[in-house]
Amino acid sequence: MAKMTMIQALNQAMGLAMAENPKVMVLGEDVGRDGGVFRATEGLYERFGAERVVDTPLAESSIIGSAVGLAIGGMRPIAEIQFLGFIYETMDQIETQASRMRFRSQSRYHVPLVIRSPYGGGVRTPEIHSDSLEALFVHTPGIKVVTPSTPYDAKGLLLAAIQDPDPVLFMEPIPLYRAMREEVPDNWYEIPLGKAQIRNPGEDITIIAWGPMVPVAEACAKQATREQISAEVIDLRTLSPLDEETVITSVEKTGRAVIVHEAVGTGGLGGEVTAIIQEHAFLSLQAPILRVTGYDTPYPVSSVEDLWRPDVARVLEAVHRSIHY
């Protein structure tokens, strides 16, 4: 057991999976000799060789499309899309191919494929590099969507994703890659997909977040304590399938909910979570469910991004609005 960052935990998970199963391979842009632009695959090329850690040509559709073939053909590919904003290039292969092969073939074939992709802002990347696009994939049957917020979860969720028989989009929050270190066991462990985690128990209001917004939600909860507001913070961890139960149970208890995500607000996953809560916990609700999200503009240039991303102040403001409704 050692203290490590999320990027180290992810790297360790891939190393373990490749050592355990010779079918596991990694492919993507710059994942080989370079070790990935964020170093997620560092050392794997040296350990497992160029056949299993493959620098592909710069063509995202070919990364996913060939990975579909690799997976059906017996391999367990882990494909990297260098930044989530470039996943649009491969949407067809994800949506109509990877996610539907099981359905189309009546489970004659299935596609055990993990698509890893960094996302999230606040680190001054160029255009398109920060976009949060989870909503597009949560709306797609046949693919699971996972995003960790801690090193420990990152490793356990990635190993579970690699073991999953179906495609999993594994979204890695760039701002959390190196934001903290925590104890991560060296051995193999899995965190089941589809289970949210209560990161901070509370009584007065539920704050629901995922990925890069979890620390913001936690910081907000801490600040709220000073005002005698007890906020329960839920990290969804798996966005599809959603852990409805944990969310509903919490809001039934608190009667109030704020959802925080970095993605553009309109059409974001916040709407779905809102709809689920109000359908199942209607009579418990003391106030409208509020969303704190990115604005309805493209993710802006870096000089503006901090003003654009939800921050503690905005979440706290929503908490107040809810409490004082």
Partner: protein
Amino acid sequence: MNPETEFPLRRVIDEEGQLVGDRSDVSDDQLKQFYTWLVTLRTLDQKAWNMQRQGRIGTYAPWSGQEAAQIGVAAALRSDDWICPSYRDWPALIYAGVPMYYVLLHSMGHPAAGYMPEDMSVLPVQIVVGGQILHATGLAWASKLQGQDRIAVALFGDGASSQGDFHEALNLASVMKVPAIFVVQNNQWAISVPVYRQMNTPTIAQRALAYNIEGIRVDGNDVIAVYQTFRDLQKRVREGSGPALVETVTYRLGAHTTADDPTRYRTPEDDARQSHGDPITRLRHYLETEHIMENSDFERIDHEAQVTVDDAVKKAEAYPLEPAATTIFDHVYGTLTPPLKRQRDQFSQRLIEGGDSSRG
């Protein structure tokens, strides 16, 4: 670079069925078998067309004219080779072993048509034009990585070769040197768009030059030429020569699908000029001229084809739908997620109660 000479059209029998190449390494029996299949598949195609007109099946994409281009490929493959087909490639699949009734089930919109036989390595037919090309690259790559000697074949149309995925698939296959054969069936049309409006080149085979892979152009209406080409090619590819692109030049004799009206965009003269000889009459002429088969053989084959096809129709029409409807929930993920379980229950309940499906 002159494409017409760099990529000459390979041909063994010409449009009149005259021998213009070498067929010494293809036996008479093989030819008889090809002929039988050509006729059977043509019969099936016509039957399916009629069934659609009678409302017994749904939208259907006829393949008349392209039987040879597909049989010649399938005949050269091993049973464990991967085939990545499109919606018009049932002849290849059927020749390779997929039961005939599958194509009818498919046009009936039956879910079972996607479950390819377990003893074959065939992907479900692809609806997204070009979507399967990359799968062949990946499957061939998987084969190579696992030290297997299976190859992967993608079948697709001239239209599909304009898609970005075509480029990405061939480039990656070439870089990774995987055992894949990319077969573009140039049937001269992508629905209403003639091939010369899709591209500005006289051949599709010449695109091989962009990837430094082998490129071949073969007369797709000449089953012997197609077969010979693939028999030799699959061996090279299997032995590690790298991927190849083959253009089978053929013609879509009929409509794009049963929903299409080709008279809107092409004339009988277009057809006559471009179709370069129906593959069946061609081979028949040759077989007649060479006295390999005689009239009674042809009649017998016609008759047996009808019987075979009728049997397939019976199987398809007798195929049970239930409980298939409910199974849509079972094939989204390996295990039912909680929301899907809930939805499955509601759905079944409605089925039992006999849901009102009026739409106002």
